[in-house]
């Protein structure tokens, strides 16, 4: 296949769209920014793209709760076309606010009959917005986006990033399915089962996420959401300590976008 097309979904208050578009471009894709209003007017155009990226930011100000309003818009008006997008084997990536939106809209994990989600992203244990870098480890091989990646060092920048499943059973199920694909801290030892606590201490687990979960994928591994920002670690000079050592060729986050683009090559 030729160069895959990536739709970067803009919305009022989205603000990591340009750097997400740039990251996909460096990885060899063709990024296009599209306002959610255009997609609502003509949902069919989604079919023209291979990858949908919901970038970070504060969609609709995160008024009410992070990602809530755009998540509802997606659930009410775009559920069908997204279902089709999924069914045709395409990729969806939600970063930070995008993760919150994918989770709360049911795109990432199915909602219950009363539209309640099986897990949420809520206020950081610290109770405040924090920008800091976190060590990350991938678990399992389910996610297309993290193929071949063991560990990454990426920044988080959010107030509502604490992953909380609706009870231990949900967590156990996601774990059993291999969907808890990205964790804060070092790679957990083989056979370790995540529980309803944060076992990696602050600040390595920067928000108190239960099970130390930083990113989740759906049952196919083609839809993925994560709180850290891979698009902020493309150039090696973005690393907070690059002045201390030799400059590597690229930042850790680039692989995520190369994996996505490479999936269609």
């Amino acid at each position: 296949m030729a160069q895959p097309r990536i739709l970067i979904l803009r919305a009022p208050g989205a603000n990591c769209d340009a750097e997400a578009a740039y990251a996909f471009q460096v990885a060899g894709g063709r990024s296009e920014l599209l306002h959610v209003n255009r997609l609502l007017e003509a949902p069919g155009q989604l079919a023209d793209y291979q990858i949908l990226c919901v970038p970070g930011g504060f969609s609709y100000g995160d008024d009410i709760a992070a990602g809530r309003i755009l998540a509802n818009q997606i659930r009410h008006h775009l559920a069908d076309c997204l279902q089709e997008f999924k069914a045709t084997g395409k990729l969806i990536l939600g970063i930070c606010n995008g993760f919150q939106i994918l989770l709360k809209s049911g795109v990432l994990l199915p909602l219950a009959a009363d539209f309640s989600a099986p897990a949420t992203l809520t206020w950081n244990a610290s109770g405040k917005f924090e920008d800091r870098w976190a060590p990350l480890a991938t678990v399992g091989s389910k996610s297309v986006f993290f193929a071949g990646i063991d560990t990454m060092y990426l920044p988080v920048a959010h107030a509502e990033g604490k992953f909380v499943p609706r009870g231990p059973q949900v967590l156990a199920e996601l774990e059993a399915n291999g969907q808890l694909v990205l964790r804060y801290g070092a790679r957990p030892p083989a056979g370790a089962v995540p529980n309803m606590t944060a076992s990696v201490p602050y600040p390595d687990n920067p928000n108190g996420s239960l099970g130390d979960v930083a990113g989740v994928c759906d049952t196919t591994g083609r839809i993925c959401g994560l709180m850290p920002h891979p698009e902020r670690h493309i150039d090696p000079t973005q690393h907070p300590r690059w002045t201390r050592g030799p400059l590597p060729a690229a930042g850790d986050g680039l692989r995520v976008f190369q994996n996505a683009v490479g999936y269609f090559r």
Binding site: R10, P12, G13, A14, N15, C16, A18, E19, Y22, H35, N37, R38, G56, G57, F58, Y60, G61, D62, D63, I64, A65, R68, I69, N72, Q73, H76, D114, F115, S116, A117, A119, T120, T122, W123, S126, G127, K128, F129, E130, D131, R132, W133, P155, A157, V164, P165, R166, H229, E231, R232, I234, D235, T237, Q238, P240, R241, T243, R244, L247
Partner: protein, 983 residues
């Protein structure tokens, strides 16, 4: 029907809002262990039933994994009675409920969003208002009142209701009935003119009032209210800078001078001289002309920079004041040329110490801890939501900022060369773009030019504005697209003075007709005058040609942003306002802009006589202890609590972050970022300020601030030949000749050093009358004036960011050099501060050596010879060395006796070498292999090898054989992080 949805954390989730209230109550000595539970909620008005409200709660408002809700008709006992609401283990007796709601007319963005989202659920609500709610147990009426006033709510924007809500409907505003108001000005005597100026919040002088009176007597009519308001706003200090741009007769230690326009003859003049000497290589593009200064960046782009203050609003309502301060300054680059893309924010604050005893805070002033928390939250929420990284800042603490904090907000933007200028055309539409107009911020421009008093809170509550960052982000998205498609001729922001200021300035050379009834309003009932002078946020004015309008309005609509034609630029030379059929104002633009009588002021400056350091206690006792106390002093201490709350990396261009080093926690000298993701060309942003030096001589305070801002940029790798600077003068009441004199002296210093270093000022802003007046407990009038406070902000450039360096030590065995001369300059130092010493000599700048030093250090860094570089400022050599060591997780052993100095046998030589704050000094870490080359680059500049980096995790400072300081770097770091390590 009015419904209320209350939302509480579920059992097991923390009650954060409640805990915050309990902590604040304890801080302020109001209640030791307050029993409090908090909720937030929504009032929803509409013809909907309980099941539908339940659906709204379930699908929109409540996150049932972490929250529970209580839904009932407003004032139902389930919402009022504690036990029924599930508070306090089934007992109701002790608990009281307190509601906090935004006052009618105050911006409530969450409610607006909720209203739209309810419609998206196919349900119809007529109005929504958010609320916060607190349950408080066992409180006396007095404590409850104090708590409401000092902790739970801010009277400037919120209403507090104890017990059930006193209304059953939400007010939606009532229709406005046009009524033209004329002010009988012509017959007033001087007393009445003064009274009108004060009571009408015009804040004009008698001479100015007389000038307006004479003008209308000549026209044989009285002005309308809106005409008078327009003149007052245009002539306000805030908008016209009449004091500093006015006539000043100055007498100082540097002689006497008569200025026609003080700013023009000092700061602007310096830039003119520098540009002339640069000739064809002049890299200034537009200075002191537009909303921000513009300089050349690369082959296609310029960069623009502006720093504003938002002091008075932040004193009254810290969150809203800082929020709209940053929102306002972002609109400056956005309103420069045809609109620059904002790429980073800077924020500098001045507060009274956060541990000020609550009893020492005068009536009408907020506690400095509350001010600081509110200001930081305000900047955080606006900057983060806009997606603009906040990369640089500083905080200065001094008791004299009590009641009058300073909040400096800055923004850098990038703009293509061919979009850097604008020109409105006669015949263009005047287009309002962005947010709607409301009653917010009335009289902000005139209010900010007056002194704060303990009445300000009630008098000027309307001057406080609340921002909505997402509205501004949407505005930004439209403007950059419209700019690139060439859909308008000019743009400016609505800041202080609102439409009045924006249209008045843009149409100054043409003439304008404005149709006020067409301006979109947030609610009904606004008078034509309120529409004209409202400082509602997130609005821009554009000059759009009739041939551009269709495409422009279609673009705005497609992004969900409101664009409205509110008038037309017409070649009449007049400002004409209409409301429907009615002409409500007709002013001559020349009178408006040039009719103000010149302000003539006396200025006198006599610096206090120089004395040696004296008083205080045990200054030579223990240098290790002194260093620890300096590191733990508020000005020097780590600001990580603030920095981490700002997104300093959004947009992806971050190169040098505000916190650097082995554990990402050392204090960087400046921020570096790449404005263009595909390029390695960067900008450096830094600042310099030291209000303590102003107590000695404002000349040297100013040169020290410039030196500091430049050396911070140079320390990370910026080219000193391409640094532009901004001035922000915040001073006390300049009606006093001494106070104005101290400012003029600082401006003269700015001129002299800027010219000597070839570092041009490109923009600036002043804020005068920063004093807080109140009546003390004994009934005596008191006044606290701020210390002279000059902020210098610097914008540097870096050819290749991969050559940048940070301040953390890198490798054991590397050599440590001190660059620059150390002098006996302990006046205003942190050494003097922690030992309560007075006197001493204030640091000065040797311009010739400074120019050579900056150039040499830059050459060394650009040649890759420097592994770490840190500027020396508060706390001098010892503090800088300690910071480098603990940031790098390495030790160092240095001998200060080797430092370049001419101190001879000064008995205090050890203390001076360790802690003097002499300017133009750097510490550099250099590998042994690079040492010779480094020394060659530094030839002709004072420098010395002091010692080496060690892996012992201890900082050892000796003078020859004598040990002066020995400190474990973990201990030093802990002392530095402790004071502001807030939860």
């Amino acid at each position: 029907m009015l419904w209320e949805v209350d939302i509480y954390p579920v059992a097991g989730e923390p009650d954060r809002a409640g805990s915050a209230v309990a902590a604040a109550a304890a801080d302020l000595g109001l209640a030791d262990r307050l029993r409090v539970a908090a909720a937030h909620g929504y009032l929803i008005q509409g013809a909907i039933g309980e099941a539908q409200v339940g659906r709204i709660a379930r699908e929109l408002l409540v996150d049932s994994i972490v929250e529970r809700s209580q839904i009932a008709p407003a004032n139902d006992r389930r919402l009022i009675d504690a036990a029924a609401a599930g508070i306090g283990n089934g007992t109701s007796a002790a608990w009281q409920v307190v509601y906090v709601l935004p006052k009618p007319g105050v911006m409530d963005p969450v409610a607006q969003s909720a209203l739209a989202a309810i419609a998206d659920l196919d349900l119809k609500a007529d109005a929504v208002r958010t609320l916060r709610k607190f349950w408080l147990a066992d409180l006396s009426g007095e404590t409850l009142a104090a708590l409401c006033n000092k902790v739970l709510a801010n009277d400037a924007i919120e209403q507090v209701v104890v017990g059930p809500l006193p209304f059953e409907r939400l007010e939606l505003g009532s229709p406005y009935r046009f009524q033209q108001v004329t002010v009988s000005l012509r017959d007033l005597d001087d007393q009445a003119l003064i009274r009108l100026s004060r009571e009408g919040q015009l804040y004009l002088s008698l001479v100015e009032m007389q000038t307006i009176q004479a003008h209308f007597r000549q026209l044989r009519r009285d002005p309308t209210d809106v005409e008078l308001e327009t003149v007052a706003q245009t002539w306000s200090e805030h908008c016209s800078h009449k004091t500093l741009a006015g006539r000043i007769a100055y007498r100082g230690p540097d002689g006497s001078r008569n200025f026609e326009n003080m700013l023009k003859e000092t700061i602007f003049a310096a830039t003119r001289e520098i540009r002339r000497s640069l000739g064809a290589n002049d890299w200034c593009v537009s200075v002191f002309a537009d909303n921000a200064g513009v300089i050349r960046f690369d082959e296609t782009n310029n960069v623009v920079f502006k720093v504003e203050t938002h002091n008075h609003p932040s004193a009254l309502e810290p969150y809203g004041g800082a929020n709209t301060g940053i929102g306002g300054v972002i609109r400056d680059p956005l309103g420069t040329g045809l609109g620059a893309k904002p790429i980073c924010n800077t924020d500098v604050f001045c507060f009274a110490p956060p541990d000020t005893p609550p009893a020492a805070v005068p009536r009408g002033a907020l506690h400095p801890r509350r001010v600081m928390q509110g200001v930081v939250a305000g900047v955080r929420d606006y900057g983060n939501r806009m997606g603009i990284p906040t990369v640089n800042g500083a905080i200065y603490f001094d008791p004299r900022y009590l009641g009058n904090p300073l909040v400096f907000c800055g923004n850098v933007g990038v703009i293509p060369h061919d979009k850097s200028f604008k020109e409105p055309k006669a015949g263009d539409y005047i287009v309002a773009l962005g947010g709607r107009t409301g009653r917010d911020g009335i009289h902000g421009a005139t209010f900010s030019s007056a002194e704060l008093t303990h009445h300000s809170e009630s008098l000027s509550g309307g001057a406080v504005q609340i921002g909505n960052a997402i509205t501004e982000k949407m505005l930004l998205d439209v403007i950059l697209q419209a700019r690139d498609r060439g859909l308008y001729h000019a743009i400016t922001d609505c800041g202080a003075g609102g439409f009045s200021s924006a249209v008045g300035e843009m149409g100054e050379k043409i003439g304008a007709e404005v149709w006020l009834d067409r301006a979109p309003v947030k609610y009904e009932g606004l008078t034509y005058t309120e529409i004209w002078i409202s400082e509602a946020q997130e609005r821009m004015i554009l000059s759009v040609g009739p041939d551009q309008w269709d495409a422009f309005s279609a673009l705005a609509r497609s992004e969900g942003v409101e664009a409205t034609i509110i008038g037309k630029f017409v070649a009449t030379g007049r400002l004409q306002l209409k409301y429907g059929e009615h002409a409500v104002a007709d002013l001559d633009m020349r009178f408006l802009h040039d009719g103000r009588p010149p302000v003539v002021r006396e200025a006198v400056y006599t610096p206090p006589a120089e004395r040696e350091l004296h008083g205080g206690s045990a200054r030579d006792a223990n240098f290790t202890d002194t260093l620890t106390r300096i590191l733990g002093s508020l000005n020097v201490a780590s600001k990580h609590w603030v920095i981490r709350q700002y997104d300093h990396e959004v947009q992806g261009g971050s190169v040098i972050k505000p916190l650097v080093g082995l554990n990402n926690d050392g204090p960087s000298d400046a921020a570096v970022l790449r404005p263009l993701l595909a390029s390695r060309r960067g900008i450096a942003v830094a600042c310099g300020m030291n209000p303590r030096y102003g107590d000695f001589d404002t000349y040297h305070m100013a040169t020290s601030a410039i030196d500091e801002a430049i050396r911070n940029c140079v320390a990370v790798g910026a080219d000193p030949a391409r640094i532009a600077i901004l001035d922000n003068f915040c001073w006390g009441n300049t009606d006093r000749p001494q106070t104005l004199g101290s400012l003029v002296r600082a401006a003269l210093a700015c001129h002299d050093l800027a010219v000597a270093l070839g570092t041009p000022f490109i923009s600036g802003k002043d804020s005068l009358n920063n004093e807080f007046r109140f009546v003390d407990e004994a009934g005596h009038p008191q006044s606290i004036g701020i210390p002279p406070s000059l902020l210098i902000s610097a914008l540097g450039q870096v050819d290749d960011v991969s050559r940048c360096v940070t301040m953390d030590l890198k490798l054991s065995g590397n050599k440590i050099y001190l660059v620059g001369q150390t002098k006996n300059e302990m006046g205003g130092s942190h050494f003097a501060l922690v030992h309560s010493l007075a006197g001493g000599h204030v640091p000065q700048v040797d311009a010739e050596i400074a120019a050579k030093t900056f150039a040499a250090v830059h050459r060394a860094i650009a040649s890759g010879l420097v592994r770490a570089c840190h500027d020396l400022s508060e706390g001098g050599l010892a503090a800088a060395m300690a910071e480098m060591a603990f940031a790098g997780g390495l030790g160092a052993t240095i001998d200060v006796a080797r430092a370049p100095h001419a101190l001879g046998a000064d008995p205090a030589i050890d203390a001076i070498l360790l802690f003097s704050e002499s300017n133009t000094r750097f510490l550099c870490e250099v590998s042994a292999a690079s040492a010779d080359a480094f020394e060659r680059q530094l030839a002709g500049v004072p420098h010395a090898f002091l010692g080496s980096v060690t892996d012992r995790a201890v900082l050892e400072i000796v003078a020859g054989q004598r040990s002066l300081v020995s400190i474990d770097i973990a201990v030093a770091k802990a002392a530095w992080q402790a004071p502001l390590n807030w939860p």
